[in-house]
């Protein structure tokens, strides 16, 4: 990581545990609504997974097809997917119990996600050495609210929304580099998803893969270049990443 001045972080899955946070809030909502008889914890896990899948499918489609093909604001996108789910055969009996106000509150659960166990300590350590910025498909307000909720000490909050696209569209990475006023090789993308790192590498950025439970398909092993792989660095946690910076900065 020598010479790296800024780290750009993917957020959902990399910095925060979306599945744990969303399914916990859904389970609590289910209890409030007295759905516990009809609904098991596993149903809410499936609900969270389906919601996230809708997000991934839509953002990757819009990243490919352009900004006219869907909303560039993730709050709006999450709400569309939520409403579609709640009127689908599997979830319609849940949907019938959720009024507009409850849906609006539930939709903002993505603003209330918690970090992985190492996230906060790692970010505070890293902040002493380099500029820390988000580079997420999440909209700006979502990322700001999440930072206040989960104590994430960003120096800068960048969203692909600011560049009118979604990752992995190259404009997102190029926009970050431009506004950081940094040559691409002095900026490293940190993510738990190889597609994000591949897109960052294409514009010349360095790449850090962090292993997170449930974020990589089971048969993928990402290796560093020193072991014949394709990323610059593989870490298990942000604290481990910080230790690399404290050695070289």
């Amino acid at each position: 990581m020598e010479g790296v001045e800024a780290l750009t972080f993917d957020v959902f899955g990399t910095v925060v545990d979306w599945h744990g946070s969303v399914s916990a809030e859904l389970k609590a909502l289910g209890q409030d609504l007295a759905l516990s008889g009809a609904f098991l914890a596993a149903d809410w896990d499936a609900f969270a997974t389906e919601w996230r899948k809708g997000y991934l499918t839509n953002t990757s489609r819009i990243a490919r097809e352009g900004s006219d093909s869907g909303p560039l604001n993730v709050d709006i996108l999450h709400r569309q997917i939520l409403d579609d789910m709640l009127s689908s055969p599997r979830w319609v009996h849940v949907g019938s119990k959720l009024d507009g106000k409850t849906r609006a509150h539930l939709n903002l659960v993505w603003h209330r996600l918690n970090g992985w166990p190492d996230t906060v300590e790692g970010l505070y350590q890293l902040k002493k050495h380099v500029i820390l910025t988000t580079l997420s498909n999440g909209n700006v307000r979502l990322l700001v609210d999440m930072a206040k909720h989960a104590n994430l000490p960003w120096d800068l909050v960048l969203s692909a929304e600011l560049f009118s696209c979604y990752k992995p569209n190259p404009e997102a990475y190029l926009g970050a580099i431009k506004h950081l006023s940094v040559p691409p090789e002095k900026c490293a993308m940190v993510a738990a998803h190889i597609y994000d790192l591949r897109a960052a590498a294409k514009v010349g950025m360095k790449t850090v893969y962090v292993e997170r439970p449930g974020e990589a398909p089971g048969d993928i092993t990402v290796k560093p270049k020193s072991e014949g792989g394709e990323v610059d660095c593989v870490v298990q946690s942000f604290v481990e990443l910080a230790s690399l910076f404290s050695q070289t900065h």
Copy 2:
């Protein structure tokens, strides 16, 4: 300030004391260069003022004439003005002593400005109640470096650069509101300059005027609406502003 969810801050002059910080660094440079015989402290004060005036003249012209009429990155603009000054009759004998490396370092003095005495305490207090964001003509990297240097705990760093304009072009204020996902009346602009607050009010934002030494022409007194003036609120410091929020939030 009831109902206000976010504060957007002008930075140069409002959050940081540009004149004190820049002239102090210039005076130290003058001593390093053994210019102390030919140069008095007053000359360096004048140098700082002329540099700043070039910035104001150029950003307001580009705000009016559009993004093709000059650089939208303040680091580039500051360097152009600096080089012009250092080849002008008044300062050419200083310029002859400053090589490219020294000029590049000096040009980044705007990344190393210090807050007013109340700035850091006030911002930390305000951060408990509302979202704090810059809305400056300074480029993103400048604002990030300044925040790390001066301990400014922004939740978000917004620059007019992100919206391809300079204040007081309305696109800057509209861009901030859009990305904060907030109705304009729930967002207040904080500035020591009335032209900035007038532009914010035109798009529906609330306005907070903070009095800062040297930032208002001598004959201007800004009053709150409650006293027949044009802004929502007048304060002497960020700590005073924070006390208003602790009463209503």
